[in-house]
Symmetry: C2
Amino acid sequence: MDAAELSRMFKALSDPGRLRLLSLIASHEGGEACVCDLIGPFDVSQPTVSHHLKVLREAGPVGSERRGTWVYYWVLPEALAKLSALLQTPAVPAKVSG
Amino acid sequence: MDAAELSRMFKALSDPGRLRLLSLIASHEGGEACVCDLIGPFDVSQPTVSHHLKVLREAGPVGSERRGTWVYYWVLPEALAKLSALLQTPAVPAKVSG
DNA sequence: CGGCTGTATCGACAGTCGTCGATACAGAAT
DNA sequence: ATTCTGTATCGACGACTGTCGATACAGCCG
């Protein structure tokens, strides 16, 4: 994991809406939510929600799958754990600086 | 810590240059570095480095102090630890969603 | 004081981001 | 097949970001 990939992950988390999406997904029943569950709670349009979900998906911290009509999203704790570990260390360690 | 403040922290970490700055500061002798130590290793100009340092300072994860001619920067592990803790939990917990 | 060095701010510019409405695609039901 | 609903993509727009050169500010040294 280099600085570029790291920064991509952080960038995905740098939008309040995406943080709330992540939270909403994680706290949803069964640990997953379909897009239709995520559109209601937000003031933004459906395309915008879809866009944010795409950003999260491509950055790493969520997975998704189509099941018939609906598309479900869930949080990938491993991806978040990696970031967490990096922040815990003596502060962004040699892996990044090298 | 609400979603807006969280996102500000993440945004500060969402630039590869700032991540490397953070790493450089943390790994520097004594845990702190003056700006002059940070300009050399980068391809960007001094004003740009200064700008990134300001972003980091205002977002939280670094502190700074002028000592005579030089200005020193150091990492604030507590700020990073907060983020780390949030990412560790069942994934961006109730504090954010509420 | 005047000049020198380290750092910050300013103004400008290109590029990216979040957002939207319109539209296309996917699957289910009739 | 047609139609309906859920989701994704497209094209466009304003706002923000990273970057720079020029310049201002701060502190040291003659």
